[in-house]
Amino acid sequence: MKPSITLFLWTLILAAWIFLSANPISMGDQTLPPIGPFFSLYDGFWQNAESEKDFKNMELNHPSLNGVVEVVLDDRMVPHIFAENDNDAAFAQGYMHAKLRLFQLDIASRAISGRLSEILGPRTLDHDKQIRREGIVWGAEKTLELYQKDPESMQLIQAYTDGINHYIQNLCKRQLPLEFKLLGYQPEEWTLLKCVLTSKSMARTLTTKNYDIQNSNLKAEIGDSLFQFLFPHAQPGQSPVHPGPWTGLKNNVLTSTQETPVYGYNDPFAAQDPQQAFASNNWAVSGKKSATGNPILCNDPHLQLTFPSIWIENHLVTPEKNVYGVSLLGVPHIIIGFNEHIAWGITNGGQDVVDWLEIKWNGQDKKKYNFDDQTLNTEYRIETIKIKGQKSLIDTVSYTRWVPVAIKSEESGKGDLVFKWSGHDAKSERELLTFLLLNKAKNIGDYMEAISVFPSPIQNVVFASREGDIALKSQGFWPLRSDMSGQFISDGAQASSSWTHYLDNSQLPATINPERQFVSSANQHSTDDSYPFVYMGSFEEFRGRTLNKKLEEKSKLSLQDMADIQNSNYSLKAEEALPSMLLIMDKEDLSSAQKSALEILKSWNYEYTAASPAPAIFNEWFNAMEKLTFDETTHEKSSHSRLPDQWKLVELINDIPDHNVFDIYETVELKESAKDIAKAAFVAACDTLNLENKSIDSITWLTHQKSAVNHLLRIPALSRLLDVGGSSDALNAMTSTHGPSWRMIIELTPTGPKALGVYPGGQSGNPGSKYYDDSIDTWSKGKHHELHLFTNAAEVSNALFTIKMNKL
């Protein structure tokens, strides 16, 4: 071969190889990173393979520190932070959050600002659009403006921000977390606004679920009386968080007269997954009810289980506090935890704090709108959504007195709807100090004071102290409503259509040292009907009833009893529904497979254990029954569909099996009752489980539910299937994607707390670290880690390495 041709060919091969290696590869629906840098030993993923040599002592200096901070990482990679003051502790916390979870911080702040498409491309465009339309960043900017009036709050989040940024600035490109290498982008600077945004992010997750649009459509379709019957305000047998009585509280709000039905809207952002199971349990028992005579407090918030976990464990020690627990990424302090004197925990209140209002434009150009007797000018915010690999999308969001116009006519099929949400609001410039004060609290007075400014979401904050007090207060922006009209779309031309104020602190329901010697909450109704203030929302009653029953049953409870309650797979729903379902169902003409399924159910103990087939059969049966029974309220359009709460079906099966709602809409000539529905649903369930072709022994709740902890990017290789039981209405509230995200049990002994805690995951966000998922097995077995309040750095047992931080 001629030398020139040889040279040309080899140059071509080299150039082609470099080109191939330097560009991302599309494989089906996933894009693989450029293999050149990714496989490179020093630029790529190999650098994320953590080993013992990465655990060496280090030192750093920063001008915003005021003293010396020592951070000791223990053998689960929990940072024990010893600082001379709160600001330095916040700096160290920020630094450690970045060191352990930088990608999570980055992607979470992008998600809540509607900026995911910048790095993920068009597939997240709907999410980004929705966030922009909901005015999340606008609300956070307004909130930050208020917080800036409080120097103490600002110094704290500035120190936390400095800690994160110090880590980012000193991070060499090769040490970037794996996900940045996979997606091919760089972390960006942390800001004060991002701290506020992340604090709003949890509020959005927990409180923006609402059915105003669905309710309006349904009420128009099925009529008011059936609507009220299927979606009542309260369950007759409920066991509320606060038993009352509510003497002394009075509601002076006049009932509004507005009753203009507004319906026919579509929600382009209607939840794809209506079965989101955000739930939680917390309780505290007094010394009188505890086996050791010391108060015990427990909390297990049920959230989406992800890698990395939503929580991160930290221990913060300053001269004024010694506090341990879990934090959320993006905000300083401990959110759920304990100190030497007290322990506290949270569950979601569930109140509906969103109103959808139909705006009345004045003129085609929508530059003005009617509001009571006035005509007001529309304001605009231009939202530029950058999209990876595409031209940016520009969305102009109109703002009215009510806040942003989230759904536009072309999408709604009618007019424009505004999105009013309590999360947009801020009342006190000291809201950010809630958790700092709680972290330092020594007694019930400090606790009440600390939480008094907590904004949103409405949380049931449980408390216990070494002094022997127990308490639970439902705290947060609780709309002062005049009636229940907020569950429907309201007329945006009247100021009276939505709330204008929130309840005062003294009006919020609280229970302090009750006679029954325990306080508890599990996302059920906050109060009974005698509470004078109107509220609505999404509540789950079975778990609350189960919890209260378990706490009442035993006169003295031990730490093991508490762990057993947290791990309980028992379903009250199944116990109340299944006997009647079995009784009323016509058992003629069943195949042998169907008969054996029935036998399994007959001997079931209502426990959602992983190895049992019964929960799978019951669940499919119950779900099929729900769909067949409530055909009136289900529709192919999600904006027109809503299933009643599950207790409603249980009540109907048990008490009114001949009710009209069982009649299937489409079969005009037949009138079905619960009996017919039970049979049809059972056959459908057996079909879903494919019982005719599959041995019933091969079905287990584990393989049916397929619970998993998924990586934030839903990458299966970085996710893990779980070997656990549980169900959304059991205290161990596992679904396929959600579950107990932190299980904590604290006994407040006179000599200090005895503390247990665990979350499904690990402290490190790095998939190349053994601390990525090292707690999964402990958590899956229902066990906990022992947690200690060391008082100084030398005391930390099992220390891996220390990071010393000095003032520059």
Partner: protein, 118 residues
């Protein structure tokens, strides 16, 4: 044989240094140079370069993987359609090998081309 070993060792050293202190494609430059200096035919230059980088990358990846207790290689292997950790290490070697091998071959063929012009 002796010159081959010297060439191979030089390639390994230069590949290691440039990859470590510059960027993933930096070994291209010393490899072209070494390919040029050594009196190799293009095919032999490719094999030498390939072998040098392959050995280097496989050994280092193996050491990293061992001290990491294979945690990351298992996960990345799954990400790339379920290949195991060992295959991942070999792939790392092959990718480095092609880069350095092709570069050395470019160097060698450049020399032949220039000589043929003279």
């Amino acid at each position: 044989m002796k010159t081959f070993i010297v060439g191979l060792l030089t390639l390994i050293l230069c590949t290691w240094l440039t990859a470590k202190f510059f960027t993933w494609y930096a070994p291209v430059f010393p490899a072209i140079l070494i390919g040029y200096i050594m009196n190799w035919r293009a095919g032999k230059a490719f094999l030498s370069g390939f072998l040098a980088a392959f050995l280097l990358y496989v050994v280092i990846a193996f050491l990293i993987d061992r001290s990491n207790e294979h945690i990351l290689s298992e996960r990345i292997g799954q990400l790339f359609s379920g290949i195991g950790g060992t295959v991942l290490i070999l792939l790392t070697g092959i990718m480095g090998g092609i880069l350095v091998g092709a570069s050395a071959a470019v160097g060698a063929s450049l020399k032949h081309f220039i000589h043929s012009k003279r």
